[in-house]
Each structure stands twice: as C-alpha cells, then as structure tokens.
Symmetry: C2
Amino acid sequence: MRIMVQKFGGSSVKDADRIKAVARRVINAKEEGWHVVVVVSAMGDTTDELIAKAKQITARPPRREMDMLLATGEQVSIALVAMAIDSLGYPVVSLTGAQAGIVTDNVHTKARIQQVGAERVRKELNDGRIVIVAGFQGINAENDITTLGRGGSDTTAVALAAALSAEVCEIYTDVDGVYTADPRIVPDARRLDDISYSEMLEMASLGAVVLQPRAVEYAAMHGVRIYVRNSYNNNRGTYVQEERVMEKDMVVVGVAHDTNTAKISITGVPDKPGVAYRLFSRMAAENINVDMIVQTTKADGLADIAFTTSRDDAQKACEIVENVKNELNAESVRLNETVAKISIVGAGMVTNPGVAARMFEALAEENINIHIISTSEIKVSCLIDEDRIKDAVRAVHAKFGLVAATA
Amino acid sequence: MRIMVQKFGGSSVKDADRIKAVARRVINAKEEGWHVVVVVSAMGDTTDELIAKAKQITARPPRREMDMLLATGEQVSIALVAMAIDSLGYPVVSLTGAQAGIVTDNVHTKARIQQVGAERVRKELNDGRIVIVAGFQGINAENDITTLGRGGSDTTAVALAAALSAEVCEIYTDVDGVYTADPRIVPDARRLDDISYSEMLEMASLGAVVLQPRAVEYAAMHGVRIYVRNSYNNNRGTYVQEERVMEKDMVVVGVAHDTNTAKISITGVPDKPGVAYRLFSRMAAENINVDMIVQTTKADGLADIAFTTSRDDAQKACEIVENVKNELNAESVRLNETVAKISIVGAGMVTNPGVAARMFEALAEENINIHIISTSEIKVSCLIDEDRIKDAVRAVHAKFGLVAATA
C-alpha cells in the first residue's frame, strides 16, 4: 500500500474556494494511485478568534478548557474538507485526533505525541476511503482532548506518516518551499531543492516558519521524507530528508530570522554553582522554552546572565527571574522586547572555519550591534535590535552569495 | 448525593455576558448544596452559521460529516462555560457528549440516545466538580460523532438526569415556563404551574417549542421531573411531571400552533390495500416524520391521500410521492407550503364531549377554513391557511377561557 500524507495549513483552507482546491489536489493524488491521508489545520484565523472568545470570559482560562475550545477549529475544517471531497464523488471520512489514535502526554496546550495508534486510519484506507485527520490535537490517557501548540498540525502529519510508513509527507504552505532567506525581506532569495533534517531543524527553530521544529525532529527520528510545497501552484518544492545533495560550495544554506523573541537579563548574581540550575529548572517547570543563554563573570565575584524566550513567555519568565533575584540578592532584572535573532545555517559549516567571522563582518559593515552570540555545529545566531533585522538579513544573505542566479 | 441537571439553550449562552450569568446561576445551585450537571447548547446562531459553511461547500453534505461539523458548536460552549465557572473559583470540568457517555444509534443528524454510561460524570461529581456537558451530541458504536437533531440538548439533559437519578432537570429558556398559548400572539396567555408529560408532549409536538418532544417522552419513560424556567429571571416556572394538579374546570390546558408544516396531497390513487404502506414506509426509511394523515375514498374506486411534514422534509417527501404516483398511475401530486396547524391540548378532554366542536365553532366564527382535522385522546388539531394562524390561536384561546385573570 503506497501511502501519501498531505498536510494543509490554515491559509490553505481559509474559505470554501480554497477548501475545494484542496479537495481537487487530494483527489489528484488518489487518481495517481496513492492512498491519501490528509491532515488539516483550523481555517484561517479561527484559532485566534477562539482565543479571543476565551479572553472575553477570563484572562486566565484553564489549559484543559483551552484545548477543549481550540480543538473545535480543526474539527470544523476536517468536516468541510470531507464534504468537498464527497461532493466530487470520492469516498472519504473525517477523523478527530482522538479517532485517529493520536495519543499525547498531559501537557495541555503544548502536548507531545507519545503514540499513534492508527488502526482506524488504516481500516478506512483499506476500505478505499480518503482519510481526513484533524491536525494539532490528540487525546491523553484520561480521554481528555489535548493540543500540540502552534503549528502542531505539521507534527500530526509527520507522526501519521511515520505510523503508516508513508512514502512521503507533503506539507502545503503558501510559499514554494524552503528559501535561503525570507523572500519578503530578501527578494532574490533562492528556493532550495533539498535540505537535511538538521539544517531544516535549525532553520525552523530560528524563525523560518515553514515547518514546526518538533515536526522536523520527529521526521528525522523516524526517517519521514517531507516535501514542502505551495498549495497555490504545482511548482517544485523542497525535500527535507537525510541525505542532502550538497550544492557546490554551499556552506551556508540559509539565513533565518525571528522577531518573536525577548531578552531578559539579570545582573549581579553571586557567581556560585547552582544559580543557572535554579533559574532554568523553574523555566522548564513552567514550560517556558529558553533559547540563547549567556553568562559572564565579573571581577567582583558576581555574574550577569542573559537569555531569550518567545515574547508570549517573556512576562512569566520575568516573574520567575524577579523571584530568583530576591532570593539571591541580585542587582537588577531587565526585559528587552525589541530584539530579534538572525542566524545562518549549514551542515558544511562545521568543516569551514571563518564562517561565523564572515557573518559578524556583514553585520559590522551595516553598523549593527550584537547583543548575544550563540553557535552550534551547523548554525550561528546573533541577537540584534529588532529595527535592524531586515538590513541584517539582506546583508548576511548577500555576504554568503545566496542570491538566486538571474535567468 | 442530591443531583440537579440544568440545561441552557443557545440564547442563554449567546455571548460572554450571558455565559457569565449562567456561571453565577450554576454556582448558586452548587452553594445550595446540589451536585450540578450543566448541559449547554451551541452559542446563539452558531449552528446556523455552521450549516451555512457546509452549504458553501456542497448542497448535499454527508450526514456523518454534518455531525462532525455541528458538534463543534456545543464543544465551544462547554469550554467557555467551564472557563467562566473556573474564573469564579469553583472546580469544574467540561465533557463532550462522547466523554459523558452519551451513546446513540447510527442515524446521523437525527440520532436517538440508546444508553448513557455516565461513569465519568459521576466520578467528576464525586471529586467535587461541577460538570459541563455538551448537549445535542453523542457517539455511536463505531466511535463516530452523532447529533440528536434540533433541540436535542433537552434530550441530553433529561437522559443524564435519568442516568444519574437527578432530583430535577431544570430547562432554562427565554420565557417563564409553559403558557396556555404563545404570549407573542396571545398577550393574555397564562403561565401554567404544572403540566403532565402527555399534555406537554402534545404541546411540544404541536409547535410550542419550549421543550423537545423526544425529551418529554424520555422524561415520561424514566420519571424525570422537569422544571422549565426563565434564564433571565428567578420567576416561578412550570413543572412537567406525572401528576398534574388539575386546575378547576381546566379541560383544555393550552393552544399550540406550528407554522413549520407543509401539506402534500396525492389524488386518484387506486383504493387497494398496501398503498398507504408503500408511501409511508418509504417516508420512514428516509427518516421523514409524517404528522397528520387523511385518506378519503371516492365513488370511482380511487382515493385521495393528504398528509403533513415539516417544511424541511417537504421537498424530499414530494419526490417520494411523485415516484409512488408514477408507479400507481395516480392522478396528481400537490404541495402546499403555506399551511399551519393549530391544536388544543388537555388530559381532561377524553371525558368531556363536545370539546372539538367548540374549537371548530371558534374557527367558523372567524371564517377560517379547515384543511385537515386530526384528533387523539388529549388533543385536537386543525390544519388551516398560514395567514390566518394568529386569528385562529386568539379565537380558540378565548373560546376556552384560558385568559389570565386580571390582577
């Protein structure tokens, strides 16, 4: 059984016309002989509208009830997509996350998939039906509805592809694939034919929002081949898979940036063991993702710590840091919400010295100040002022020669 | 454990303010020492909006997918009501129909409850929580979501009350209770303190839309005491229960009317056995409820049959009748969608001769023509032209002396 998973995001199902277009695309794959499983997100701005409804009731809705509320968004989408396919004469069935056997842990609003018992999906495929599955949602051991957090539909698609041993997991979006930089900022950015899981993971984590990082991680772990495509056309897309065909001299594959980031600093902390543990274990307990971290020690036996979180988590992170400040008699806590992160990514970087230096050079030439630097084997990130991010992306993109060849 | 079930319809949860009012009312009952189970409908016009979404995709959405779609309406409501109660500091949990153990048959969009396995509800009550259940929905043996049809939330509430042996099932609506006639048409109509199940059943079937007939039937079968109340005030309401305290000389308790009705006639049918069976078994197979039926035989060995259905079903019923016409070589089929039904109801009617005659007298005095008459032990119904329905209700209401006593 040759199985294909196709995932369509919110903009691909935002109205009746787009839903009908999705139906035709799904049917094309079916006509080509595929068994098709379709994962869909909530229509357009539905999730934001539901969140607004909750906020009208209370500023602090319980997370379990948020999941009960938000899960309706995808349920509406799957029903409508199934109707569209049925109206074109093809057998189809829609399934909620629970019905599709997406079992998660108990962390409401940010649940992780633990197991995919896709029996019902397999049975429906065997019966010749196209199967439409609600993305973003699952069920925990208590039979309560959970959601996977923003972008979770990608993870649903990849997890189903893994469980069903699908040949490919097509992720439809509103761009042609993965680019060397955001084409809205760098008009001559180039679409990549291939990218490796680890490179994609860095790109995704770093704000190139084509794919959810968790989905890429899951795909790498289970060897799921992802094909990122444009739902508005039939252009070639980008394959995300293990063996990237390394393009000539392409040390850096892309420049990513992320403006959903905030910097929190605490100064004058006693420089002794356990301080970082105290701070960041509490962040973890509150499910706050911390990104860049730097610690510097000063001559007076005191240290400064700075780190970044998403802006959604910044207030909560600040409260935690304030508590730690009081416990440790530290000097001060500061929050800066007008920063942004720029990163270069490339698996070839590890064997090429001087790549980071070229990035810093590009930023210096533009007179852009760097707050924090963070590096891994395949990426270099710099935190800078938000109002310079576009200049930074263009300059770095040009410095590494990523521009598209002119026709 | 003293359990109260409270049911709130769509207008009672139509916006954030009304939802907060519901939360306060629920908490009042909790403070009085009740274990409270709350059943809610979809907010305001949500169900109509969802139907409109489906119609944009296809004129004939599969019923299974309609249920998948429509069930989201109540799911949004339960999450928001739970959030409102939580924000006031009371432990609460929302449950979908499936989670609450509402098991139905397979008739999508018009499913009937077969079983209520309220284990989870009982467990949550025992843990001290207020339990919010999605009305109108259930799950069938295949684990597919079903809905109970319009007004199905009443049935959910009564079925839960029966399964939990609740002392009372309060049904909140936007009027003070059950009236002797629709107060919008008859301003001096009177609220009844009590009404029996069978009387309420007739009133409900006949278009007094305070309670869904199926819910009243279920309540009668399981002896569930219903209290119909106004969600906007604390006025006395109407009890629906077995032993009605018969009011002095009150042979007729109310006048009901129904404008959602259509008349279909087939003329010149061979007058032989099996014709009615052929016609109405097909209606049943298509889940079309047929209400009044009359058959008249003419001298030429031919018969005319006329019957009524709801206007939603009229087109489909007509198609069936057309097929039967062709099979039997009957003369003609006619559809009249501008009719309405007026009915008088009262358990005392069976022992009081001449009640029907007084109704016909009232209609004759108003010069109102009667299309079809239908009677049962506790009701008399007449089908008339829709444009005379208000005159008819007022005249019959006055004829039976149902007007409220002036203070």
